[in-house]
């Protein structure tokens, strides 16, 4: 069990309310590491908030 949490990013849906268009997703990371730069940049650039990109 310990191995999992330590070596993994855990992505979990926290809540999705009908009243709000936005949905919240909680992403946990196990350590402070540059390996997470993609997640950090996506968050800071607002890319997780974009809902209008769909795959062709």
């Amino acid at each position: 069990m310990k191995r999992v949490i330590i070596s993994s990013v855990l992505v979990a849906l926290l809540c999705a309310t009908a009243a709000l268009a936005a949905e919240r997703m909680r992403i946990a990371y196990s350590s402070i590491s540059g390996a997470y730069v993609g997640i950090w940049v996506a968050h800071d650039a607002g890319l997780f908030a974009k809902k209008d990109w769909i795959i062709k």
Partner: protein, 249 residues
């Protein structure tokens, strides 16, 4: 995640940020080789963590028994591990960038680069609850697309990415931040979160030392490729500069 799944947890890996171990073993300058750590204390984050698995892997490569020939200590965060090295509480330490670069700057010696050993391993993996996959695959599709775009933005906007690295790592030294950026973006972060199944097997092999069920498990049991497959169909691995590959809904 694999151990939890073997114990009944409903989790799947949908991608890996990185598919190799990223650590070095550092020591004080007077320590000339990893063999000189025999009988000495080595700091890792936690037993079973990536740093612990890396330490044991490297020690075995140099014919040192991690159970008998050294004393592995779990010290928590990377800053705690490095603090212990600086204070002399441990003789060796598992470090990764940016701490690794700070350690070098302060004169500590790299005994082994586990990064250069190219030890395939999910480090880290993106693990999600199976319930979320079943109920909200659309949300995970969006997460994956945003993540791939985040990596692309990081690769193409160094200044922006370094600001993010500074924000989350709390490192302020611009030289260390630049080296950290170059290291992760040039060497280790996958452009898209491909899953190296050989790395998954290595994780299983390591677990099999302590969890018998891991011996017969297959890597495929722990992954769900649908989100990567969907990105693949959208030809996401090529440049995002051509937005014709994506349409607005």
């Amino acid at each position: 995640m694999i151990a939890a799944t073997l114990s009944g947890a409903d989790l799947k890996v949908i991608g890996n940020n990185v598919n190799k171990m990223i650590f070095s073993i550092h020591a004080k300058p007077e320590v000339k080789s990893i063999e000189e750590l025999r009988g000495k204390r080595i700091g890792v984050s936690r037993f079973g963590s990536s740093s612990d698995v890396s330490a044991r892997y490297a020690l075995r490569k140099f014919n040192l028994d991690p159970q008998k020939d050294v004393i592995l200590l779990q010290l928590g965060s990377m800053s705690s591990i490095f603090g212990a090295l600086r204070s002399g509480a441990v003789d060796g330490a598992l470090v990764s960038p940016p701490t690794q670069f700070l350690s070098e700057k302060l004169g500590f010696k790299e005994l082994v680069s586990i990064t250069e050993m190219n030890f395939a391993y999910p480090n880290p993996a993106m693990a999600v609850p199976g319930d979320l996959i079943r109920k909200r695959p659309d949300l995970l599709d969006r997460f994956m697309r945003a993540y791939v775009r985040g990596v692309h933005r990081a690769r193409t906007d160094r200044e922006f990415a370094i600001k993010s690295l500074a924000k989350y790592t709390t490192v302020t030294d611009p030289v260390l931040l630049g080296k950290t950026y170059d290291f992760y973006l040039d060497k280790v972060v996958e452009r898209a979160p491909y899953i190296n199944m050989g790395g998954m097997q290595n994780a299983l092999d390591d677990l099999a030392r302590t969890i018998p069920a891991a011996k017969t498990a297959k890597p495929e049991q722990f992954v769900d490729m649908r989100f990567l497959d969907k990105l693949e169909r959208a030809d996401y691995s090529t440049s995002f500069t051509n937005d014709d590959r994506w349409i607005r809904g």
